[in-house]
Amino acid sequence: MGTQTANARSRNGHRPDGTLFAATDDAFAEPSADRDRDRAAAEGESNPVARLVNAIAGAVGSRVPVADLDERDPDYIRESLPAQWLLASLWFRGEVRGLGNIPEEGPVLLVGNHSGGNMSPDSLVFTLAFSTYFGVERRFHQLAHNLVLAMPGLGFLRKYGTVAASPENAERALRSGAAVLVYPGGDHEVHRPSWESGTIDFDGRRGFVRLALEHDVPIVPVVSIGGQETALFLNRGEGLSKLLGLDRLLRLKVLPISIAAPWGLNVGDMLGHIPLPAKITVEVLPAIDLREQFGPAPDVDEIYDHVTTTMQETLDALAAERRLPIIG
């Protein structure tokens, strides 16, 4: 299984048995998940609920496309810029600062905090700003949860350069010289309660640091605010996810509960929601050259603390600028 899984991962970032692996960079550092999944699969043969979840996992897994960086289509991105611009400018009143901090060329790891549930407007606003600032010709890939890529109607994301979050896909993208956007907090952070909007919460996931060190690329922190005001996020639903076995089969550790348009009470956010028109502000911080700043043999924990602390300070400053929720 181990070899087979490794091969499958190197091919496309999802498993041939249909189960998914992680949304974000916890995929980079959780070997115990394989054991959990195997145990869950075994349980699935006797437990009808687990069988159902297994079947769903299989269906979803089979929809996750093979990762192919060439699916990114600059012409498609360019032609869709006006629509993105309308949404980002009129609905979210997006504001992106500090794009000049991103190195003009070469691979770079953009590390963002993630907000707004499955609709994540911060991604839209930042992707638009990146594409217009550097031009659609510059290679730019975003790592996303397998569920996002498997969802019907969202196949177009692959044309924007979105690939399943996996170490292999991230490495492949960086080796191609691309700028790569990762959200280490992933599903844990994006579904945090609205009253924790001003908190950077990567849940201790340090894979992004190891990735940057391994490929010797700079980290550029990207801090955003406003996404958590696009709905009233109440709870991550971690207990519910565990109860249903989603954490083991889909590595979906959350089943978020929110109040969101047009559903009212929204459990899971699987169908998305209509985000409230909260103002989204994004600030790009200066690039961090890890070996220049932390020496030839840097400590992963020290870098992680530095990145998250710097981002938290910026998020605090952005929060202090905001006068009213949604209005900005």
Partner: protein, 162 residues
């Protein structure tokens, strides 16, 4: 989408021409322009290329442009090489009194293939772009007339000393 703005400047065309052909001055007088960098060996003239960005709404929009017409001191036109489609033109015409210059700044922009939403985006962006052009011309007028006044004072002082 085509937007344009015009203004009369109390300075000869040659002086205004110096402003509009000098890439180093663009960040100083062009409103909402956040980048105007030379991207070719030659900084001026036909074939010169610049990386340009203008803040419109939530994005900085622009790309690589190339000078395609350089008719001193009357017309300077550029067209986009990458980025959103754009054509721009400075049109300088000497007024009959010989002391003023009529300056027009034209900008055509869009994204080919963007469909109806592209058309809507162009319409929505037009007032902001037009206002950017107007403010740019007002600032150009202020700076050019200041330069003209400074040159006139220097000339008078030189004549008095002789």
């Amino acid at each position: 989408m085509r937007v344009q703005a015009a203004i009369d400047i109390a300075a000869p065309p040659a002086l205004v021409w110096d402003f509009v052909t000098d890439p180093a001055r663009y960040l100083h007088f062009m409103n909402a322009i956040t980048r105007w960098e030379v991207a070719s060996e030659r900084p001026r003239g036909c074939g010169a290329r610049y990386r340009t960005l203008m803040r419109v709404g939530s994005a900085e929009v622009g790309g690589l442009v190339e000078i395609v017409e350089h008719d001193e001191p009357r017309d300077l036109a550029w067209t986009s090489v990458t980025g959103v489609d754009q054509r721009g033109r400075w049109r300088l015409r000497e007024r009959a009194d010989g002391a003023r210059t009529h300056v027009e700044l034209r900008l055509q922009y869009g994204v080919a293939g963007a469909g109806p939403l592209g058309w809507v985006a162009e319409q929505v962006a037009a007032p902001a772009v037009r206002e950017n052009l107007r403010r740019s011309l007002r600032e150009l007028k202020r700076q050019a007339e200041h330069e003209q006044a400074r040159a006139a004072v220097a000339a008078r002082r030189g004549a008095a000393q002789r």
